[in-house]
Symmetry: C2
Subunit: 589 residues, 2 copies
């Protein structure tokens, strides 16, 4: 079984030294969330993920969810663990105190998301979608709906889902067919089939609150005729007690490559009673409140799985002895494989991406809070623009790199890594869903280039590159960070050139843009991680006297990132700008 | 279930138009193996792989091999299929007619290896290791051993294994402990445990011939004290009939991520009777006859799995409709996803690598035959040097690219790709063993830079780059291929610079070389595939009048490779030459 130690030192380093967003620090509601409190919470979070949740990963893989007589049964141990999980208040961590939540900011809950993803993605998904549904209801529900549904969702005794996909529509929600017929009492009756519904049914909670996209009888075709509905698995009576079963049933559950402890359901709605959430025909935009936050969390899943894969590869490389290293002092026997240059390179490859990603996601957590809660609308909007820009980047980059890291970690285990015993191949299989769900990584890249680079306020990407430029200019003034800053500046220039190319191509050939979007996303993502590293370096050189071991480690890890990861940008750029003419005219006979 | 059509057109194109190695064409023994014969054989091969073997892939994945009362049971249908497989003579395809084989060259059997890998890697492995063991015995066994064992192996009623790995030694065979004690009659008694033995036991053949590395009582330590032994599962009597069971038993079989239809065994040897093969203490070098050929075949496995993954992604992309493409003519509904630029890019990415790899492997098949059978020793040696150089490249590059392609193919299926129904996620899991077994891809890269670039005959890599240079110079003279040749020349220059850097670093810092070897292998591999494409282009422009559809397809596919795959070389080079100083001093606390 894979082992796991939550990377508390790195998390607390970020929380203490890189909580540097002035606007975030101005937020009244988080004034009291200081380092001591963060540390307390994260230590408790580490305990529960390491001890209670980690063992569920293997159990879930070996005993996938089952559908028995129409009821989904979660793997052994899930029920007991979930009970403890909600008793200790973990579902409520980031929720509004008004509904019983603890009101913690994303600067803390993001770390918890990472830990949970490391320990067991399957188990995490049961509460994760609830938080997504909670956010959607919080922002778009009426007061009476909120009062009726949110407290029990915050407690975790009810859970939530998001029901978008249908057999003929995944990416293209305009094709969806589920019908919602309005009733005289203002409720709706929903009929249709939804597929790939994560936690669509299970035995962990008393009720499940489905958020369902559907069309009213008079809805226009396409995405402009989609409304959002709340459909409880079990009806809730006036006095908030549970009533009769609603007509939502589980048709089947998917047999999957990984996350086998998570129930991925086909749900059949057969005149199920539902309540409209938000304005009619604007369901997609309401759902996207949930989707966007969720997409960042999926990126964090990739980060969390990368972290546990790295930890296990590192431990194994210290134990396993094979061959003599170039500098071996042995006469007989073999060195630990961590003494071999190539293994060290592979480990640093993982580490430098993981820590850079974590720094980026911490920066993004601050921006997200500003985008949600700052009271100056301009500041709020600017933060929102940056969050919108980075959402597809974090979702795609972190999950793709998660595939690279889990694969490289397996590789360090050699033949043992391919067997079920080590738990490492499971990480690879579990992570493989992350580049697919919540919009495939290509969909993210299309979203980035066609919708996120600019908006009505102007060029969002220009604001971002200017931000990076300013950071580089500052770091250039410091003799210790000068070389790093100059190197990043070269790649920033490539990003700027690539952006100009995208903007020009947008007018001449949208296909050129589409064929380049994955490459572009990677370039922006690596510059963003590089910029995060630069900020870590600024702090590290300043603080090195206080903790030589920790900050030397940071500086050397950053060096690897600048030397060996950033050069990938050259290839993405060169490949990306090569155009689409022959791609589009190709026959594919 | 995944579908499959053997790519006969592409194979026959290579066989007819790129069988261009003068020395190969001089080989007397293959004079009669013309295109008509090749076509006959490949058509039959296509039939058996598409109809008989393909369905075994899913069966094997859903019903893994079992160990019951010490006996390994293969999945349902394997036995019947294997019977037909050997009755039709497929195990004997490339074997020496002296022992009942059909004596076909690798220019044909390589294509068959690819087809089998596409259809079911698990099923293929049962005969593949037999051919490996056959080759080893053929080259190193005494006449009486050959007469006793080879005919039944060629017929396929006996199979073979290679037993190298032990719990403490995988990559580092110097650590192996299995003992071989000589008996008064000249036989040996072997005791020890071998792990990860592919087809170590199964119910498909009457006997299994194990080739086992072990140490005699007086053997020196390390790799210089390893001898090779033939140990039959069931003893063979003087009259060649089967005698009593030898004391080899199956301790357990591995539960694996993929290739679940293949039995990966722990074998216990308990004073099992064996015969020494080849000279005492030279077992490793004898085993490497088998290993090197086997490594190329593993590369072909990666190619075969890539091909079927591509075919299924292509078919699905023509069926699945989602979203409107940039140039959509639709008013309602959605275009097939193959109309989207980004999906086309992904498909061409696969296709351009697959066809380039196939061309490279066909070139290598010709070289291999020259290296084995040419009667001028200088020509033979030169071919052998090239084969040795390319062995680790083909093994690593093709299997790594197999991971990329099976992953990208899954991605095209979206959520459906992650479920078991489509058969696409199985390809990904099955292929994941290929970068690991027969020496991990990092071990291949180390082998390449430390052992294959130069030998006692001089600089092998220089001979190879000169060969490519000559090809480029020729193609430059042709107006149609000029631009391709010039582009490849830029990358050849990077390869040459990287080689110079490796040679220099070899003197200054072996760690620099070790930390760069994976990047170097990729650069050499991509140049080699690019060179193969250049030769395909030479023919394509010449022949375009004869088959416009086929050759236009080739030219456009090549264009993609030159525009979008070759640029990867920039990154590998830049990353590779960044040195190892901070990698080696890193603390990994």
């Amino acid at each position: 079984m894979a082992t796991y130690n939550a990377p508390l030192d790195d998390m607390m380093f970020l929380f203490e030294k890189l909580r540097d967003n002035k606007h975030y620090n101005d937020l009244e509601k988080y004034k009291e969330v200081n380092a001591d409190l963060a540390k307390d919470i994260l230590e408790q979070a580490a305990k529960i993920t390491e001890n209670l949740i980690l063992p569920l990963a293997k159990t879930g893989d070996e005993n996938p969810t089952k559908l028995e007589n129409g009821v989904v049964i979660t793997p052994p141990g899930y029920k007991e663990a979930y009970k403890k999980f909600i008793e200790d208040g973990w579902t409520s961590l980031s929720c509004d105190p008004k509904y019983g939540g603890q009101g913690m900011p994303k600067t803390i809950s993001t770390f918890f998301d990472e830990m949970l993803s490391s320990a067991s993605l399957s188990f995490k998904l049961y509460s994760e979608l609830s938080i997504g549904a909670y956010n959607c209801i919080l922002h778009h529900g009426t007061d009476s709906i909120k009062k009726k549904f949110l407290p029990n969702m915050v407690k975790g005794i009810w859970s939530g889902t998001m029901c978008l996909t249908e057999p003929v529509c995944g990416t293209d929600l305009g094709l969806l067919k589920t019908k919602a017929i309005e009733q005289p009492d203002g409720t709706f009756k929903l009929s249709g089939q939804k597929i790939f519904i994560t936690s669509g049914d299970h035995d962990l909670t008393d009720n499940i609150i489905h958020l369902v996209l559907a069309r009213t009888a008079d809805a226009p075709a396409g995405t402009k005729g989609i409304s959002l509905f709340l459909v409880p698995k079990i009806q809730v009576k006036e006095d908030n007690s549970l009533g009769p079963r609603n007509s939502v049933s589980t048709g089947s559950i998917e047999s999957k490559m990984g996350i086998k402890g998570s129930a991925t359901c086909v749900l059949n709605f057969d005149e199920a009673i539902g309540y409209m959430i938000g304005p009619k025909n604007k369901g997609l935009s309401s759902m996207f409140t949930m989707m966007n936050l969720e997409r960042i969390v999926v990126g964090i899943q990739g980060l969390g799985i990368s972290e546990i894969a790295y930890q296990n590869a590192l431990n194994y490389s210290k134990e396993r002895k094979q061959g003599k290293s170039n500098n071996s002092k042995l006469k007989n026997g073999a060195d630990a494989i961590i003494d071999h240059a190539d293994i060290r390179r592979s480990l640093l490859n993982m580490k430098s991406m993981i820590e850079g990603e974590r720094a980026l996601s911490f920066w993004l957590a601050q921006q997200t809070e500003v985008s949600l809660y700052h009271n100056v609308s301009k500041i709020k909007q600017e933060a929102l623009d940056l969050v919108s820009l980075m959402t597809p980047v974090v979702k795609s980059l972190f999950t793709d790199i998660g595939m690279e890291i889990t694969s490289d970690a397996m590789q360090i285990f050699g033949g043992y890594g391919y067997t079920k015993d080590q738990g490492i191949e499971q990480l690879y299989r579990d992570n493989r869903i992350t580049p697919i769900y919540e919009g495939t990584n290509s969909v993210q890249a299309i979203d980035l280039v066609f919708r996120k680079l600019a908006n009505k306020n102007g060029s969002v990407i220009e604001n971002y590159t200017q931000l990076v430029k300013n950071g580089i200019d500052e770091s250039k003034n410091n003799v210790e960070t000068k070389l790093f800053a100059e190197k990043l500046n070269q790649y920033l220039k490539i990003l700027i050139d690539f952006t100009t190319w995208i903007e020009k191509s947008m007018k001449n050939s949208k296909d050129d843009v589409s064929a380049a979007c994955n490459d572009y996303l990677k370039v922006l993502g690596l510059v963003a991680v590089g910029y995060s590293w630069l900020k870590v370096l600024d702090v590290s050189f300043k603080e090195i006297k206080n903790n030589k071991i920790f900050f030397e480690d940071k500086i050397e890890t950053a060096k690897f990132f600048f030397d060996r990861i950033l050069p990938r940008i050259n290839t993405y750029y060169k490949s990306g700008i090569s155009g689409s003419e022959n791609i589009m005219k190709f026959k594919f006979n």
